[in-house]
Symmetry: C2
Subunit: 219 residues, 2 copies
């Protein structure tokens, strides 16, 4: 097999691992939110346990990428692609971490009557998952238009987040007996806003590896 074909095969394998990691992160986000919504500590614990698999995948991806670099010493675009994979896997790992954070908040909230309805958190979660799917497709198909769409969706999440912050703090000033839950929901609000930021970073890394130029979709 030629070196070129070898490199392409290795890159394909890396990409399929990234896809797997992305799918697991989507599951983590969906599940952690389900746990939060249904106040199900069992599901929350599953999300926390499941995170090891995602962490291990990241380590595997890193080691594989290092092995490719050592073996094939890729240059220019190929090298950019490998570095892109390293960056994207670390961003996906952070998204999964936010799933774990939401699961932990769920456990801290316990089973007091849920105040989720006064927030826009579910919408933020839905948009974040849409963003992650687009960011992954954008990376796999090297589609810069999809990457730009991710940046646009992030603005929606930011708006819902600002609204949720206002609603939660207003409610908090009048219901001190709910302090614990409201503080945890304020954290979840931040986690989801940050999730969207990191997914935007994936889109930016993708844009960088397609165009060889640094983008900032966050601002």
């Amino acid at each position: 097999m030629s070196i070129r074909v070898n490199f392409e095969n290795n890159l394909e394998e890396l990409k399929s691992k990234i896809t797997e990691m992305g799918e697991l992160s989507i599951v983590a986000l969906e599940r952690s939110f389900k746990a939060l919504k249904t106040q199900d500590v069992e599901i929350a614990l599953k999300v926390i346990e499941g995170d090891t698999a995602i962490d291990n995948l990241e380590i595997e991806i890193n080691q594989f990428a290092i092995w490719i670099m050592a073996k094939e010493a890729p240059v220019s675009r190929d090298l950019r692609e490998i570095i892109g994979v390293l960056k994207i896997s670390s961003e996906i790992e952070r998204v999964a971490d936010f799933g774990v954070n939401i699961a932990k908040a769920t456990i801290k909230i316990g089973n007091t009557t849920s105040l989720l309805d006064i927030t826009q958190l579910e919408k933020m979660k839905d948009i974040s998952i849409e963003m992650l799917r687009k960011a992954l497709r954008s990376f796999l198909e090297e589609n810069i238009l999809l990457a730009k769409e991710v940046g646009d969706l992030e603005e929606d999440v930011d708006q819902y987040s600002a609204e949720t912050y206002k609603r939660l703090t207003a409610y908090l000033s009048e219901h001190s007996e709910e302090t614990n839950q409201l503080v945890q929901l304020l954290f979840v609000n931040r986690f989801l806003e940050r999730t969207a930021d990191h997914i935007t970073n994936i889109a930016e890394s993708t844009a960088y590896l397609i165009k060889g130029q640094i983008y900032d979709f966050n601002s």
Copy 2:
């Protein structure tokens, strides 16, 4: 010059850039906390503006590391060292980001009477800076004992953080008129706890590049 000498020189330059980035992050943390303590919006804005320099340094380090990999195709320990530099620079960048987050919280708090005294945030900041200095020295001197000390200090930060959370939420249930400031201080508490986590990651990356083995000082 031999390839070896070249590589060593390049690595030294990378390390000096890491040191510079680390110093700037320490300044960012110190300043952001000073802004919080003295409720000085001017200083807070300086921290936010100063973050661009740190971000740029990270980009510079990444590009330089990529250039070294492309040019010299390092293997085994050399490669581990370059990958270590990439990981460490991204962790330092995150520490600096928490400085920015504290600065933003400062601005949101404004000039209502400070409630900082009921928290352990200053201690957490002091320990975090001590941890960062140790982690950087551990990396530069390839000293694994220092890396382990970082892991121990992180436990202290975690304890102060748990205590601060309790105090702030207890105070919050009785002083709803201070909701805004207290919520922001709860965020700062989390930022500092996460800062300590990321500094611990630096120590773990250092341990990995010294020993070629993955460590988890967080658990």
